[in-house]
Symmetry: none
Subunit: 378 residues, 2 copies
DNA sequence: GTTAAAACTGAATCAACAC
DNA sequence: TGTGTTGATTCAGTTTTAA
């Protein structure tokens, strides 16, 4: 492995700010991502999220014990001649990301053991500085049908800044709020993308073999971007990054060489609705720190940011925000704090105080917590 | 318990078996691990467990919010001045492991995001074949005191064989038993090593900065070695690998250049008691049990020639013939072949597919195989 | 229409032996 | 070294079909 440290860690002069009007915002660039990124100016992107080919190197067919056939990832885009050619490809697209990222921008890459060690070593060689590696634990991974290894139940994400001295962005407080006032850890638990969220083509087949769950992108973007930031996804696929960026009020640019994927992604993002301004305001200061497990319920989509919650007698109503805090007029904070202040009570259990409407019924938000617990039991 | 495996495909000639008496079993070799491993013969080791320096590159001291000092890893042995020198070191010790490992041997390495990407890429470059990466989730990680990143709550282990075609050893059944009859996943949850397990020096300070929990080694050795196997740990430290190897009835060899660590490890392993023979017996998979021909079960009279067998739903029926073949209309052949053809399936396990009636009960013919095995035990 | 059972599915480097 | 035979092996879901 050769050392190719290029980018300087410390900038000597302030960069010329890029005019957003000069960027292809909310567009999917056609073609190879390396060529497509060349059309972007230097230092114009706040965050890159990349889900590159994993170079799986699969052998023959695989059947389940019941005899059914496993639909493997055998697409042409995942075939490489050797580690050498995979490395060259990886170095090329990562170097281009490095160029288009702002000095204080950051990069996320997701992969599996097949490719992530190559990606991690190369991005270190290029001068990226790893901030964390994150483990996505799958609640429902595919088993190892032959009983030959441990169930491959996770994928790995690397979060890296432009360099050791880079002033990357991290919404520490929003993450802590989302995680019931405990620091967000480096292991995240989500189900794989399936059910209604999984996009299908006209024939009912999955539109893309490796579509990522929205909850994963939701947490990534909420943690490491601000409203209005520009997010680039060089391997756009069906556009999960674009959809969540739009939902969270971030700008996005995609690169995708397959016309079918571009078509699906365009339609998907078109349908996506941005959240309300108030729902997007995340907790910024320690003074207003909420005390909630509520954030995880919001993240899981059981309660939507922007939706209205109210007490049983509808004396007060509040709005749910993206990080699990709630807002009621000038008041904001956790479900418990806001309920307590409104009632001028010594304490308040927000779970039973607040209600929401679902299918014509009024339920305490505790019902949504129940659903969440059911869905996320270990 | 003898191993039933034969010579691997990658081997062109049968290697001369190494006499265990020629190996420094139950010894800690003094000095640099690369030099120490050079004294070991080729193809003599069943498993390597390596916990190499992490190349942490910590800048300056770290204090907790209350001002107390964090005793970080700042030892001289963990200092490398560049990725290049760390890579060269890594390549050297991994290559030596490759040489001393048997063709069907395997390697474990543990690391964090600081070093694991370099280790993973280099071991792939050397020809090791990654079988799984395993995430050790810490129940009690050190928090991120500055609130600048996600809590670094895990470490990563890579499990790799000598090559793609290598017949590595995996105690699938034992792992499934250990995990309440569900396949063991690639994410393992353990507390960090603390309390009584954490070794202290005479002054009461921790004897080693990165002592690993015994539960981690217990699972590694139980999963990928057999009783009597030889385990090498090139970075022995306080000897967790040796202690657990002794406990589980495995042989061990360590390398350690710090005299203080050797001393602590020696005393520790001395105190360790091996488990009883009976406690060491693990669940065996079908694969490792002797193979039984259907004809032998017929021959033994457990199933009679001429009797009828059928699938569970009685969609098909067949007749048992004296030579252990079965007949279904114009079709005839082995229990597996006929079942496969009838179902038009990619394969069929005749033992579980076919059933018979005995004493008013319907049982799979596998039950008759079980009786045969019982009857033929000494 | 309601409920239970069966079928289907997911980034997977997924067998070993005899001839 | 290749080819054919034996036979070992699955978890958490969602969707479809049957009762």
């Amino acid at each position: 492995m050769t050392k190719l440290r290029t980018a300087p860690r410390i900038r000597t002069k302030k960069p010329v700010p890029v005019d957003k009007a000069d960027l292809p915002l909310r567009q999917i660039l056609d073609g190879d991502c390396i060529a497509a990124m060349r059309s972007l100016p230097d230092a114009s992107i706040d965050l890159v999220f990349a889900d590159p080919p994993y170079n799986l190197q699969l052998g023959g067919d695989l059947n389940r014990p019941d005899g059914s056939h496993v639909d493997a990832v055998t697409d042409e885009w995942d075939r490489f001649d050797s580690f050498g050619s995979y490395d060259a490809f990886t170095r090329a697209w990562l170097a281009e990301c490095q160029r288009v990222l702002k000095p204080d921008g950051a990069l996320w890459v997701i992969g599996s053991y097949h490719n992530i060690y190559r990606v991690g070593a190369i991005l270190q060689d290029l001068g990226f500085w790893i901030l964390n590696d994150i483990v996505w634990r799958k609640t429902n991974p595919m088993p190892n049908f032959r009983g030959t290894r441990f169930t491959n139940a996770h994928e790995t994400l690397i979060w890296a800044s432009q360099g050791e001295k880079s002033r990357y962005h991290f919404n520490y407080r929003a993450m802590k709020t989302l995680n019931d006032e405990i620091q967000m850890r480096s292991d995240w638990t989500f189900p794989i993308c399936s059910g209604g969220e999984r996009l299908k083509d006209d024939a009912g087949h999955k539109a893309h073999p490796t579509q990522k769950p929205e909850a994963l992108l939701y947490r990534v973007l909420l943690a490491t971007t601000e409203k209005g930031d520009i997010v680039l996804d060089p391997f756009f696929g069906t556009g999960t990054t674009g959809a969540i960026a739009k939902r969270l009020g971030r700008e996005w640019i995609g690169c995708e060489r397959e016309a079918d994927y571009r078509k699906v992604a365009t339609a998907r993002i078109e349908k996506e609705l941005p959240l309300d301004e108030s729902a997007l305001t995340t907790m910024q200061s320690r003074k207003t720190q909420p005390r909630v497990a509520f954030g995880a319920v919001v993240e899981a989509g059981l309660l939507k940011p922007g939706m209205e919650i109210f007490d049983k007698k509808r004396r007060w109503k509040a709005t749910v925000r993206a990080d699990g805090s709630v807002e009621c007029g000038a008041l904001s904070g956790s479900i418990h704090q806001v309920g307590k202040t409104l009632q001028d009570a010594p304490s308040c259990n927000g779970w039973t105080f607040w209600h929401y409407e679902s299918g014509g019924e009024v339920k305490p938000i505790d019902a949504a917590r129940g659903l969440y617990l059911l869905a996320s039991e270990d």
